[in-house]
Each structure stands twice: as structure tokens, then as C-alpha cells.
Symmetry: C2
Subunit: 169 residues, 2 copies
């Protein structure tokens, strides 16, 4: 069951959960893939509620996102399961079906084609309305040194939050 | 007096306040200027707390921001003063000293050169660590039609939140 919510009521929890990680889920060609992310911002642009996800060039998630333009974000409410976030942060969906290996339960989406993950109950369904690859050449040197030993650049995906809910039994 | 806070504890209030407006303040050549904004996102990138402000090419604020790379954001806590937000959303700092005309009180900053505005007590001090002009050519047509009758494009200013507090008596 979905308990629909105002995503901004959970903006603080979303920002604070990123320290341990949240899940970014995509789906293409019938395959659902999820990855742990620790970066993202939430707010408003063009009068719409927006979640911006940052995804590196090399990620399988990027390929799926560019194909479908839709994603879900799942945030643990209460204590995150470190096992899920660790596994989904180190394995690639190119060679691992993370959903199946972890026995995660997908939740039928309300507005888009990508399901949420029941084990992390707070779900944002997002439709990409804008994306922009970031420009390393104008980033401070210490950030480039630390995060970009290879030029594996992030693209900012501006997802309009089209539905937000807690998944409940 | 400053009561220092975790900005993420106020992320929900910041997101929701944008509907009525929040203040973006800059300072250059000794002049403080403030404008009302209704768009922005808050969260994490490069492991740092970030507030992203979106500022159009034509704004005087953009000129000041590009010179100094610092800004404050002030958010009303409780009921916003519609008069302040309305005035600061329609007048330009090029020909109006909005701070003086409204009799606003500036608060000495903690970490940067730009003061906060006491009348809207929640203050984020931000240092720009990245900026990127948005690309209208990949935005949906309905957004371009509505927000860009002229190509007065927004630049995303990624401000690292270096201090956050409530201004109190």
C-alpha cells in the first residue's frame, strides 16, 4: 500500500540519509537495476518539485537513465540496512541482478515505469526533464583530485518528482 | 546572536518556503544587494552540503555573484513578510538600494563576506564551488515557452553551505 506524502516533508531525512546512502533505481528492457548514491539535491526549479541525481559516465545506471528518462529514489526511514546499501554500491547491474541476489521486493509504480524498493520505504518517482553533464575544467582542483582521478564525469539528472509515498504493508 | 544549526534540519522548510520566496543576498564593492528567489535545491555533492541557486543572465545579482563567488540565503521562519519578498522580487539592485529602502537589518556573517538579513532569520552562508549555465536547447518546449520568452538563461550556482544559523535577538 502507498501512503502518499509531500516529498518536502521528508527533505531533511533525504539529505541526511545520503551520508549512508539511498537507492537510485532504473528500468529498461524489462530489467530493474538499482545503485547506492550518496549525492543528490532536492528542491524547486521551473515551479516543479525536483530531485537532482548525479551519475557518472561509466555507470550502467546512466545507460538505462538515458534510454528511459525515469528513475525512482528510495530512502530508508529509520535504520538503513547497511547490507543492501553496501552491495548496491559496489556491484554493477551489467553483470549482477542486484534485485534478485538481495531478494529485494519491487513495488508497482504509480506514475512511471520504474518500481520502488519496499525495503527502503520512502519512494520518489522522478521523470527527467533536464540533464547536463558537469564540466570538470571549472571545478576546484582539490575536488578534481579527490573525485576524478579519471575523467569519469557526473551528469546532473533533474528529475521532476511526479509521485512520493511510503510503501507500507 | 547566531544559533548555529544543521541546515538539513531545515531542508523541508527551505523547500516549502520557496513557494512564497526566500532571499538571495550578494555583496560587492561594499554594496549589499538582495533578491527574492523561488527556485533552489539543497543536498549533497562532492561530500559537501550544497545549496544550488538559479540566477538569470540579466540579474544584477549574477554580476555580483560572478565577482565574489559568495552568497547568503535567508529563509523566513514562521510567517514570511510578503512586503519584503514582493519588493525584493520586483526591484533591481542596479537602481535601488533595497536594503536601505526597506530598512532591512544586516547580520555580520560568520565565514564569508556577505551578511544575512535579520528579518528572515534562517541564514545559509554559501561559497560557490561550481557554476554551470543551463542549456535551453535540451529543455522541454513547454518550459522554454513559459519561462524563456527571451533567452534569459539561468546559471546553476552550487554554493557549499559553510555556515547555517538562526539570527536571534
Amino acid at each position: 500500500m502507498k501512503q502518499f506524502v509531500n516529498p518536502f516533508d521528508y527533505a531533511g531525512e533525504i539529505c541526511k540519509a545520503m551520508k549512508k546512502g539511498i537507492l537510485l533505481t532504473t528500468k529498461a528492457h524489462g530489467q530493474v537495476n538499482t545503485m547506492t548514491i550518496g549525492w543528490g539535491t532536492i528542491g524547486v526549479q521551473w515551479g516543479r518539485p525536483i530531485f537532482i541525481a548525479y551519475v557518472r559516465d561509466s555507470r550502467y545506471t546512466k545507460q538505462l537513465l538515458d534510454e528511459t528518462g525515469e528513475f525512482t529514489v528510495n530512502i530508508p526511514v529509520g535504520n538503513p540496512d547497511a547490507g543492501i546499501l553496501g552491495f548496491c554500491g559496489t556491484k554493477s547491474g551489467r553483470d549482477t541482478d542486484k534485485i534478485r541476489e538481495l531478494g529485494l521486493t519491487t513495488e508497482e509504480p504509480a506514475e512511471i515505469s520504474v518500481p520502488g524498493i519496499r525495503e527502503l520505504p520512502l519512494t520518489l518517482e522522478c521523470r527527467v526533464i533536464y540533464k547536463q553533464r558537469q564540466d570538470l575544467s571549472v571545478l576546484p582542483g582539490d575536488i578534481v583530485d579527490r573525485y576524478y582521478p579519471q575523467p569519469d564525469v557526473h551528469t546532473a539528472y533533474y528529475g521532476q518528482i511526479v509521485s512520493a509515498y511510503l510503501i507500507q504493508d
